[in-house]
Amino acid sequence: MNHLGTNFYEAASVILFGIGFMNLLLQNNLIKKFIGLNIMDTAVYLFLAAKGYISGRVAPILTDGIIDASHYINPVPAGLVLTGIVVAVSITAFSLALVQRLYKHYGTLNMDEIMRLSREEEGE
């Protein structure tokens, strides 16, 4: 099986996932870390949505009164992605609130710096 050429959506989405993953691991800056996380999530959603697409068919909304499964694309991935987007935005908001609270106390967005300061505070 050799579908890399036709599966260009999936290929792009796994590359995006990798970049997001790298951002999450590498970036010291918390805001960029969380942007990376968002990229990672949207990459998975792109992957799912691409899996639901069927060439030559239309969006899963009743058009011209045609009730026939071979006329519409697969609605399942769209539903899953819709749920996923909500989860992603909630987590983004939560993590940004956390960032603000951390900044208020430590005065920096650098995770290493924050870790160091908190260790110093802990004493010894």
């Binding site: 260009f8 959506y9 792009a12 590359i15 995006l16 970049i19 997001g20 790298m22 951002n23 590498l26 970036q27 800056n29 805001i31 960029k32 942007i35 990376g36 968002n38 990229i39 949207t42 959603y45 792109l46 949505a49 691409a50 639901g52 697409y53 068919r57 239309v58 969006a59 899963p60 909304i61 694309i73 769209a78 992605v81 819709l82 987007i85 935005v89 983004t92 908001a93 940004l96 960032v99 603000q100 900044y103 967005l109």
Partner: protein, 84 residues
């Protein structure tokens, strides 16, 4: 033709993602991320998922960016508000 446009959009998406990783300025990073979300919305239109496109446009490019900008303002990373 349509495939060409889609591939270009995907390449643009990847370029945006790499751009976010390499910009030093947080403000620019968030702007790029906003662009990334908008392109994603367009791509979902190509994939025949208008539900997702409308949601992504409202959330990714709208609410998410507002939240990011407010955070940047709070952490004094925006020029013109309070120097950080």
């Amino acid at each position: 033709m349509s495939t060409g446009i889609q591939v270009t959009l995907l390449l643009f998406l990847i370029a945006c993602a790499i751009g976010v990783s390499f910009t030093r300025n947080l403000f620019i990073a968030v702007i790029i991320f906003m662009g990334y979300s908008s392109i994603m919305a367009v791509i979902w239109l190509f994939l025949e998922s208008p539900d997702l496109a409308i949601t992504q446009a409202a959330v990714g490019a709208g609410v998410d960016s507002v939240l990011f900008f407010l955070t940047l303002k709070k952490v004094h990373a925006l020029k013109g508000t309070r120097e950080g």
